[in-house]
Symmetry: C2
Subunit: 339 residues, 2 copies
């Protein structure tokens, strides 16, 4: 019994006292160590040059915590790295704040922090500050993680959801719906046999190559909760433009496509965690597309439509028959706790 | 029934779709609006000059959410503002990430975001980016908030838990234990009649005045979870110095003192949310003390001891009888979910 308890997180691990320090020293520092984190001050201090910084935050409440293609640790790093990238920023530093339910498995925590480490190494970012809170049994569901991030916006880059312009090409970096459908299968125990796994990935290196290929990338966004349809609606509203996409232009993995059809999900609304959509000046779009295809997370990148001056604030799909229909923002909730 | 449901947070408020947008537009933006937040991009972009920045994060899981002297919103702003201040930084920007339990009261959420607004105004910081997640009933306890913060460290300032030096004076900004005892009374329904309220406050303006009075403030720390005893132990370990404090030198509100005695709590271990302890070069200590006393949160500031070259890593109390005893870091958990 004593041995078993030793493998569980207790309320005292969140007390700020000796067990909190032991957890930091024995679990977090060996995996995440760097000189800034190692100082263990109330915050981390680092130097910057004159310029522009991006700052973002996201809480992750995904259920289950482990899924094919990733876990909450990888998700928490990639999601925040991607949000910085979507500002045109080069991600530098992350904070990591944990809310843990009493009784949570210490080996699982270790495994999740190892994923944080691996994703941070892949994305070339450092976790430099953090916090750990523990709440009683039943007051949280296992583990929630909040990551915030800081990145540098290179000179000459102006990327914003407000910047899409009529005439821009709309480029999507790959298949839709992989993350959402993976979570659904895991959670509902569907026993679906198809090879579906989350696309959870850091996109910062692909974005760097894209921005080297063109400074006329007006808008970048990762279609997570709410899917591509919601993301395009956000941009159409923020930029006061119309967006026209072609039916069947969005790539789909065959198993995701089959499962969506079976269950009646529209992949346009299903969450992604390693995809981006870009609005790019038409004359630069082929160059940007080539840059994306050279990255392992952009091999299936493709132009799916264009920004128009018509029907501002609206997203429209043109069918193969030549007719059109409006695509709204997600209403209701397709699938809670996807990220 | 329909009306009642309208006042509750639903899973769809966390979907990233139309209800999330409505919540942001109708609840968050009117209270927190500023040009950076208003862009609604995946992150906020701001300019910086060459220099040093501080970055910090904390999750807040306090129970109850509302208490005399504050609520989780005020706490989330003050805690992060104070962590930046303890790095010697001038706080600039905050992120705000919410994890909300399905069914949470929208008026309560509004009240909490109003507190965020007021505390941010008082501390002169802006909330520039955020996130909202909703989890099902029973998967969280009402509301958890994670704030991260960015601040500028002025030139010439070197404040760190590693910098305490033998000979430094130890200054405490005021009474101990007010926050912890307030939460205890609320939670346990003790019906204690004494006028006890949380000390929850932003200390950045006091810290600015202190740093104007002296650049030889070596170390600043706010004794939150684990109390003053744990904080002093952290500094003793990080700086490899001894710390000697005088018995009865720490100010206490009479009701806190009475309640601690009644319940057998040592105020040295009880959490504070608007206090700081500073290690200051002896020759500058009176000047720093004066600066603190001019601020409304430092009126009862006092020198409580000194840093020594003896017993490195240890905190020792000297009693009025001239004897000494070692004060350890908090072991176990005095009171969970204090912040």
């Amino acid at each position: 019994m004593a041995e078993k308890m030793d493998n569980r997180i207790t309320l005292a691990h969140g007390s700020g006292g000796s067990l909190t320090h032991k957890l930091i020293r024995e679990t977090f520092l060996p995996l995440l160590s760097n000189p800034l984190l190692g100082r263990l001050d109330d915050g981390a201090v680092f130097g910057v040059d004159k310029g522009r910084l991006a700052f973002t935050t996201d809480s992750y409440v995904v259920n289950p915590l482990f899924f094919p293609g990733g876990d909450i640790g990888r998700l928490a790093v990639c999601g925040t790295v991607n949000d910085l990238s979507m500002c045109g920023a080069r991600p530098l530093y992350l904070s990591l704040s944990l809310i843990i339910e009493e009784g949570f498995s210490q080996p699982d925590l270790q495994r999740i922090i190892s994923s944080v480490r691996e994703a941070a190494l892949e994305a070339d970012v450092e976790v430099i500050t953090g916090d750990t809170k523990v709440v009683g049994r039943g007051s949280a569901d296992g583990l929630f993680i909040t990551t915030s991030g800081i990145g540098i916006v290179p000179e000459g880059i102006e990327v914003s959801g407000t910047n899409a312009k009529a005439g821009d090409k709309v480029i999507l970096s790959g298949t839709l719906g992989d993350h959402g459908m993976t979570i659904l299968i895991q959670r509902e125990g569907l026993g679906f046999e198809g090879p579906i796994e989350s696309d959870c990935a850091p996109l910062n290196q692909m974005v760097s190559s894209m921005l080297e290929a063109s400074h006329d990338i007006h808008c970048l966004r990762d279609p997570t909760r709410g899917g591509l349809a919601t993301t395009l609606n956000e941009i159409a509203l923020q930029s006061e433009v119309g967006i026209l996409i072609q039916e069947d232009a969005t790539p789909l993995n065959p198993s995701v496509s089959a499962l969506c059809e079976l269950l009646g999900f529209d992949p346009l609304y299903v969450a992604n965690e390693g995809k981006l959509v870009a609005m790019v000046k038409a004359s630069d779009s082929d160059r940007v597309l080539e840059a994306m295809k050279e990255n392992k997370y952009g091999k299936r990148a493709t132009i799916i439509g264009e920004v128009t001056g018509e029907h501002p604030g609206r997203v429209v799909i043109r069918t193969r028959m030549g007719t059109s229909r409006i695509v709204d923002m997600l209403t209701g909730d397709l699938l809670p706790r996807i990220c």
